[in-house]
């Protein structure tokens, strides 16, 4: 696989100025809604602190809580499976489906199954998989990955959806009225729910002391998918565990407010066993997560509750779009997760950030995102992954800066020469700064020169 290139993909997205601004404004609107919702709760910062503490404690005792969860879930008749990686996860899911002779599956949004590439795996085996979250269904029709973890089709306008639905569902190509399109999708999905032999859902929280899982949706599609078919498979990463039912209240108060500015998701569904005459399975996946636990610099990334707030606030994400990250989870948290997993493949992601720090402040579980991205950059250097050109330029700069005299001389020369050079030569193709920006005017003397001369009148 060739190395992913965020700047290149970002350039493509930014070049469509109208769409880029539309995207930026749509997400900023969500961020503002989040601000209002979070500021309506006086104890907001305390909640973030509690959430951070619960998650950190759970991750430090993960083996204990996973076993407690397994024991309690099993008591409820739920079949619990553990998978070490994506391949094992997909095989477990397939084997359950095969055993029940499943031909059609309805799926409720799950970033984990995206991460494991479950859909193409099952489709190859002849099983129809229908994503039932509206945004997910839209991108599935278009054979695109989601571009945001909460708003998977945020990169598309309603006119794009009208075209897609016209092609797939036979709706009027020129009618992009959201109600009209939603009705068409609902009718289409209703049929899929009724036909399905099994429902696959993600998991937002798995509660160790009850052995149940909680799924948050706004469309109720997880409930439809898990209660119409007799077979329900819930797929989760190991980090979804929380110790006790009472801990859940902290997270449900933070999750929806951070994600969309809603006080709570429309549906917060608790699953503590199969429906009557049905069967419920939970597949718990590691897929390289345990490695985070041994890394002091990056372990907090596992605390993420997938609200997407860091994406909505990130000024780079808003302007470069989710697809520019080339990873299942985009934005600041995705950049850290991806770089930790495969630094070489994702080497541009920790630099897809101006280190503004807004993500760390917005994060409901206080993940130190900007510090992680700063640290990733240093690690890439250690691992010899950053370019030789950059390495040489930086070493040379330090060499110059180590000598105050040399630095002053170079500064003086630059200030003298630059004003004499014709603009055409200054603004050459290697001057990236100068493509869309003027260079600063050169003063005759530096501060140091003026200070040494004693010519600064401080009166």
């Amino acid at each position: 696989m060739s190395i992913h290139n965020h700047p290149k993909k970002a350039k493509e997205f930014v070049s469509n100025d109208e769409r880029m601004h539309w995207h930026d404004k749509a997400l900023w609107f969500v961020r503002e809604k989040r601000d209002k919702a979070s500021k309506s709760i006086p104890e907001w910062e305390k909640l973030r602190e509690y959430a951070q503490q619960i998650k950190t404690h759970t991750m430090a005792n993960l083996d204990k809580y996973l076993l407690e969860f397994e024991e309690n879930a099993t008591k409820r008749g739920i079949k619990v499976h553990f998978a070490k990686d994506a391949k094992e996860h997909n095989e477990i899911v397939y084997n359950i489906l095969k055993e029940h002779q499943v031909k059609k599956v309805v799926k409720s949004k799950s970033m984990l199954t995206e991460e494991c590439h479950l859909n193409p795996f099952l489709e190859k085996k002849g099983i129809e998989v229908v994503d039932t979250d509206l945004g997910e269904r839209i991108v599935q029709f278009r054979k695109e990955p989601p571009s945001h973890i909460v708003l998977p089709a945020i990169h598309l306008k309603k006119e794009d959806v009208a075209k897609t639905f016209h092609k797939e569902l036979g709706t009027d190509e020129n009618n992009s009225d959201p109600t009209y399109l939603t009705r068409a999708a609902r009718e289409h999905l209703r049929g899929k729910f009724l036909e399905a032999d099994a429902g696959i859902t993600g998991v937002n929280f798995a509660i160790a002391n009850t052995g149940g899982v909680v799924v948050c949706t706004n469309e109720g599609n997880a409930d439809m998918g898990s209660s119409l078919p007799k077979l329900h498979i819930a797929c989760m990463g190991i980090e979804k565990i929380i110790p006790r039912l009472q801990d859940l209240s902290i997270f449900t108060r933070l999750l929806a407010r951070s994600a969309t500015g809603q006080p709570i998701t429309t549906y917060t569904s608790h699953y503590h066993g199969a429906i009557e005459n049905g069967e419920m399975h939970i597949v718990i996946v590691d897929n390289n997560r345990a490695n985070f636990l041994s890394s002091n610099k990056y372990k907090k990334a596992l605390n993420c509750i997938r609200c997407g707030a860091c994406m909505n606030t990130c000024p780079v994400y808003r302007r470069s779009g989710g697809h520019s990250y080339d990873y299942v989870i985009p934005g600041p948290i995705g950049s850290s997760l991806a770089t930790f997993r495969d630094p070489k493949l994702h080497k541009t992601l920790s630099f897809a950030c101006s280190l503004c720090g807004s993500c760390s402040n917005v994060c409901p579980v206080k993940i130190d995102l900007d510090s992680q991205l700063y640290n990733h950059r240093q690690d890439l250097y250690e691992k010899n992954i950053i370019s030789t050109k950059k390495r040489v330029v930086m070493k040379l700069s330090v060499w110059v800066l180590n000598s105050p005299i040399l630095f002053s001389i170079l500064g003086k020369i630059t200030r003298k020469i630059v004003p004499l050079i014709p603009k055409k030569i200054i603004y050459n193709r290697f001057n990236i700064w100068g493509k869309q920006r003027d260079i600063p005017n050169m003063p005759t003397k530096s501060f140091k020169e003026l200070y040494k001369e004693g010519s600064i009148d401080v009166k």
């Binding site: 700047p7 070493k395 800066l401 180590n402 630095f407 501060f447």
Partner: protein, 248 residues
């Protein structure tokens, strides 16, 4: 009380006016200020580019140059953040010199606001001004309350500007959005960087600002570069120049 004036490398070379304003502000408070001539750069551009290892020598040089002062004051929130936050990897946690440097370094507005606690400035600036809250100063040094947090609002830069006679600070739609400079980010991600800068400028234009000011010249340099290229009707000025009464 002896103050060591720390002037960021590029400001020394390109923006002597803002450096002079900084010196004047400190001198106007009858402080004993010295500019150590052996200083160069804190190493931030290299560290942000991933080459923190290379700047160890610069960090040592910085600490040996500045640890003798009671306070170190600089007209740049991001350079101060570099010393405060990122030098710790190079020093032992008990290193007295570094710990002294780390705790005595201040961004100029922070110093005027928190240490000198100034309540009066005898200067005028009868213009509409937009305040650009640069990220490092704003969020890392907490010069102002980040809009993401649910804590009581405060903004040290705004408080200081409010001491200036005739000034009108305009309200921006996005109070603390990043301008897109971000060190080497402005070159490695030129397209997003410029898009961010343009949006930042438009927010000021939409609010009828005549000037953009802020406490980080690097952000202002990036914004000024776009303003001059696009011939926007906005002027850029470092906050020290307004506070020192250096611009009319």
């Amino acid at each position: 009380m002896k103050i060591g004036l720390f002037i960021p490398c590029f400001m020394n070379e390109l923006y002597p006016k803002s450096c002079i304003a900084t010196l004047k502000l400190l001198k106007s408070l009858n402080l004993d200020v010295e500019y150590p001539e052996e200083q160069t750069c804190c190493g931030q551009p290299m560290a942000n580019a991933g080459c923190a290892k290379d700047i160890k020598t610069l960090a040592y040089k910085f600490v040996s140059t500045f640890s003798k002062y009671d306070y170190i004051v600089a007209p740049s929130g991001s350079c101060v953040t570099m010393v405060k936050e990122h030098y710790k990897d190079f020093f032992h946690e008990d290193d007295e010199e570094y710990n002294k440097t780390k705790t005595s370094i201040y961004e100029i507005c922070e110093f005027l606001h928190d240490i000198m606690k100034i309540t009066k400035l005898d200067v005028k600036f009868p213009y509409k001004v937009g305040l650009h809250n640069s990220c490092h100063g704003h969020r890392a040094l907490k010069l102002g309350t980040a809009s993401e947090l649910n804590i009581p609002y405060n903004n040290k830069l705004r408080n200081l500007l409010n001491l200036v006679e005739g000034i009108e600070i305009v309200d921006l739609k996005r109070e603390d959005e990043c301008c897109g400079f971000g060190g080497t980010f402005c070159v490695t991600q030129e397209d997003v960087s410029v898009a961010m800068g343009k949006d930042r400028i438009n927010d000021h234009l939409d609010s009828y600002a005549q000037f953009i000011t802020g406490a980080d010249m690097s952000c202002l340099m990036h914004l000024e570069g776009i303003i001059n290229r696009d011939k926007s009707p906005l002027k850029v000025v470092h906050i020290t120049e307004i506070l020192a009464g250096e611009v009319q």
